[in-house]
C-alpha cells in the first residue's frame, strides 16, 4: 500500500467527494418537472445519487490503497468485505450504461473485437468497457480479483473467465448447484466448503488476515440491510403504493453493490422512514393508482422512464417485481452462528438458481399479497435463466389466477433490440384487457 495513494484517497474521501457531490447537487438544483401522473418524488432519490456517485468517484483513487474486486450481483460479497476489497459490480455499471442509452455503443466495441451479438448485453457492455476504458462513471479501477457465482447464471462464469484471461488476474468462482427440487445436504456442504476454501486465496490477494468476528459483523449488517430492503418492498402492499417498481429498480443499487457496508445499511433506514411516512400519509407514487401490476425479469434500463410514464398515465402502478425481491427473498436463511452453511442456503436458493415451480409459487404469492391486477413479463434475450420458462409461467398464472398478462420481447441494456411499434401495440392491448377485466 503506497502512503501517497492512501493520502490521496483520504483527501478525496474527506474533501474531494463532498466537494464533487456538492457541485453535482448545484448543477441539479433546478429539479426536472414531474409529470402530473406521478405523485411527489422520493426525497431519498437525492441520497441515492450521492452514495452511488461517491462510490464510483472514490473508486478512481482506490488503486494502491485497497484491492479492487469485480463482483457479480449474486456472489456472497460479505466474505470479500472481511478483506476490505473495494467492490465494483459490472452488472450495475452495465445497467448504468444501459440507462444512459449508451448500451449499443459499448456492445459494439465488444462485438467488433469478436464477441457475438447473441451474448448477454451486460457482458458485452462490460467487455466493451474493459477493451476501451470508456465509462459514464468517469473512470473505473482495474480489478485485482474477479469474484463470480453462477447462482444468477452460468453466463457470468464465461464472462468473468474472459476478463480474467484478458487482464491476467485471479478469478474466484462460487459454484452454486441449481436447485431442481430442494437443496441437498451435499449441495449445502459443497458451497459451505467452497467459501472456506476461498479464505487463503483472499488473504493472499488482499494481503490481509481473515478475522471471524469482523466477518460476522459484516454478515449481521448485510442481513439487517436485506431485511430492511424486504420491509421497504413490503410497504408497497399499501394502497396506494408509496413507490413504483421503477423507483425500486434504482433504489436496488445499494443492496446489490454496497451490501455489507454501513452506507447501505444507513441508506435503507432513511428510505424506510420515508416510505413509511408516505404510507401513513396516503401518498402514492402515482397520483391516481387504480391498477396494480407485477413486473417479471430485469428492467429494460433504457426505457424505464418511458414505461414508468406510460403506465402512470394509465393509472397503473407496478407494486412488486420478482427482480427487486431477489435481494430480500432468502435473507431469512442467514445465521451468524452458522455462517458458512447459512450462506450456502441464502446464496444457493435465490430465484434464478431455483426451479420454476418455486418461481411460479412465489409469483402467485406476490400477486395475491400485493393485490396485483395484471402482469408484465420482460422476455430478455440477455438472460436465459430469467426468460426460459416465462411462456409457461404466464400460461399457468393466467389460468390459475385469471390475470391479464403481457410479454415484452426486449433486452436489458442493448437498446437496438427495442421495437417501439411492436411493444406499443402489445402494451395498448394489455391495458385495454386490464381495464376491461377490472372495471369491465
Amino acid at each position: 500500500m503506497s502512503i501517497r495513494a492512501e493520502l490521496k484517497y483520504k483527501i478525496m474521501k474527506d474533501y474531494g467527494a463532498p466537494a464533487v457531490m456538492a457541485f453535482q447537487d448545484f448543477k441539479r438544483r433546478k429539479p426536472r418537472p414531474v409529470p402530473e401522473a406521478f405523485g411527489p418524488p422520493l426525497e431519498t432519490n437525492k441520497r441515492l445519487k450521492e452514495i452511488l456517485s461517491r462510490h464510483y468517484f472514490l473508486s478512481r483513487y482506490v488503486p494502491g490503497v485497497k484491492k479492487v474486486a469485480w463482483v457479480t450481483s449474486g456472489a456472497p460479497v460479505e466474505l470479500l468485505r472481511a478483506f476490505d476489497f473495494y467492490t465494483i459490480y459490472p452488472e450495475n455499471h452495465s445497467a448504468l450504461v444501459g440507462a444512459k442509452k449508451q448500451g449499443a455503443d459499448y456492445c459494439g466495441i465488444a462485438e467488433r473485437s469478436g464477441f457475438s451479438q447473441d451474448l448477454c448485453s451486460y457482458a458485452r457492455i462490460d467487455l466493451g468497457h474493459m477493451l476501451s476504458g470508456k465509462t459514464p462513471a468517469g473512470k473505473l479501477p482495474k480489478p485485482d480479483l474477479l469474484f463470480c457465482s453462477n447462482n444468477i447464471c452460468q453466463t457470468v462464469l464465461y464472462w468473468y473467465k474472459a476478463i480474467a484471461h484478458e487482464l491476467n488476474i485471479p478469478l474466484i468462482h462460487f459454484d452454486a448447484p441449481f436447485v431442481t427440487t430442494e437443496q441437498t445436504e451435499a449441495d449445502i456442504n459443497y458451497m459451505a466448503q467452497q467459501l472456506q476454501d476461498m479464505i487463503p486465496i483472499l488473504e493472499r490477494v488482499s494481503g490481509r488476515v481473515f478475522y471471524q468476528n469482523i466477518f460476522e459483523d459484516i454478515l449481521k449488517r448485510s442481513m439487517e440491510t436485506s431485511k430492511t430492503w424486504g420491509a421497504i418492498l413490503d410497504a408497497m402492499k399499501a394502497q396506494p403504493a408509496p413507490m413504483t417498481i421503477f423507483d425500486a429498480f434504482g433504489h436496488l443499487a445499494p443492496i446489490v453493490s454496497l451490501r455489507g457496508l454501513p452506507v447501505a445499511q444507513d441508506y435503507y433506514h432513511i428510505l424506510m422512514e420515508e416510505v413509511d411516512a408516505r404510507v401513513s400519509m396516503g401518498i402514492g407514487a402515482i397520483s391516481d393508482e387504480r391498477y396494480r401490476l407485477i413486473w417479471d425479469n430485469i428492467a429494460i434500463w433504457y426505457k424505464v422512464r418511458f414505461l414508468a410514464t406510460f403506465f402512470a398515465e394509465r393509472k397503473m402502478n407496478f407494486v412488486t417485481a420478482t427482480y427487486t425481491n431477489a435481494w430480500a427473498e432468502t435473507t431469512g436463511y442467514l445465521d451468524v452462528k452458522d455462517p458458512w452453511i447459512s450462506m450456502a442456503k441464502t446464496y444457493g436458493q435465490i430465484i434464478l438458481n431455483n426451479n420454476l415451480k418455486h418461481r411460479l409459487d412465489l409469483m402467485k404469492k406476490m400477486i395475491k399479497t400485493y393485490s396485483v391486477d395484471g402482469m408484465v413479463m420482460h422476455s430478455t434475450r440477455s438472460c436465459k435463466p430469467y426468460s426460459v420458462g416465462q411462456f409457461d409461467l404466464r400460461k399457468a398464472i393466467t389460468a390459475d389466477l385469471d390475470l391479464p398478462a403481457v410479454i415484452l420481447d426486449a433486452d436489458i441494456a442493448d437498446e437496438r433490440v427495442w421495437s417501439e411499434q411492436q411493444i406499443h401495440t402489445r402494451l395498448e392491448a394489455f391495458c385495454e384487457t386490464l381495464e376491461g377485466s377490472k372495471f369491465g
Binding site: A164, D175, Y190, D197, F391, K395, A396
Partner: protein, 366 residues
Amino acid sequence: MMIPDRSEYLKGLAQTGQKIMGVLPALYPRELLWAFDIHAAEIWDPPGEILHANAHLQTTICPIVKKSLEFILKDPDIINAGYLFPHTCDSLQNLGTQVKDLIGVSLPVYTFYNPKGSFNNTTIKYYRDILQNFQLTLETIYRPLDPEKLLTACELSHKIDSHLLAIHQARMTNHLSLSNEEYFKLMRAQEYLLPADYLNLLEQVDILDQPGESLKTRLMVSGILPPTSKILEFLDELGVSIVADDLLAGSRRIPKFSMDAPSSPIDYLTDRFFVLPPCSTRGGDLDERMHHISTRMKDSRAQGMLFDMVKFCEPELFDHRLLVKTLREKSIPVLTLETELEHHISGQDKTRIEAFTELLFDMVST
C-alpha cells in the same frame, strides 16, 4: 461396417421391453444407468421441424434446446423410462424444470448437476456425493443397485473409451480410412446404441497398419455437434479430412488419456469426469482449453480450424473469440460457421467453405 439407423434401432429396442431414458446433452454417468438396465438414448438434434416448442420457448433460444423440447412434446414411444437433464447450460437447466414443473410429461424427469469452474478436492468430493445421490434416486424408483452390475458397466465404459481413444489417435495419424461422414456417424452411434452393440461396432473398425493417403487437407473442428452430414459430405467432395475434433458431442466426452481399468466404480466415475478434456460448458480455464486444442492440432497436423457454432450457444460463443484470436496469432486459418442444425447447406456457407479449403490447399502446396 453397418451402423443401424437411430430411429429404427431405438424402436426395435423399445419393442423388446428395454427401458430407455431420453438424455439431453451432455455429461452424465451413463454407467449408473446401464447398471440399472436403463439404456440412455441421447437427444441432441432430433430431426423434424420446430413447431410446438415455439409456444414454449423464445426465438433466441438455441436450436438444440428447441429441438429437444419438440421431441419431448411428441411423447415418443421409444422413450419409456423418463428424461434426464444433465446440467450443461442455463437454457438446458431451465428447460429441465420447465418440462418437469410447468409443461408436465407423463414420464419422470431427472436432473444431474455437473460442477462448474476450476476443480479441486472440494469439487471431487461433491461429485462423488452427487453420483451417490443419483444412484439413490434410481434405487428408489427401480431396485437396490447391484455393485457387480455397476462394475461391469464401468468396465464396458472403459473398453469403449479405450477404443475411442485408439480411433481418435488413428484418425489423427491417418490410420483410419473413413470419410468424414462415416467417421462422425460412427462417433455419434454411441448416442443411441446399447453399449455392448457400440463396443462391437468399434471393434470392427479397421485401424490401418500403415498411414493412408496424406495428400488430403487436414482440418480440426470445434463446437457442440459435428457439422451436419451435408457439410461433411461437401468436405469429403473437396478432399478435406477432419482429423481431430473439439466437440462436446465428440472428443470432449472421452477422457484425455487412457485410464486404469476400474476397480472401485464410484472412484472410476469420479476420476473419469475430472480427466475429460476442457470444455466451455464446464467453465474451465481458457488457457487450458487453448493449450488442449493447440496440442490436438499439432498432434493431428491439422492445417486449419472450423468452428461450427450452434446459434445462441453462450458457453461456446464466449470462448470462441479468444480461441479464434489465439489461432490467428499462430497463423492458423480459421473458419466460423453458424448453424441452426438445418439439414441443408446454404450457398453462402458452401462458398465460404470452398474459399477456406482453397486457402488450406494453397498452404499445403507451398
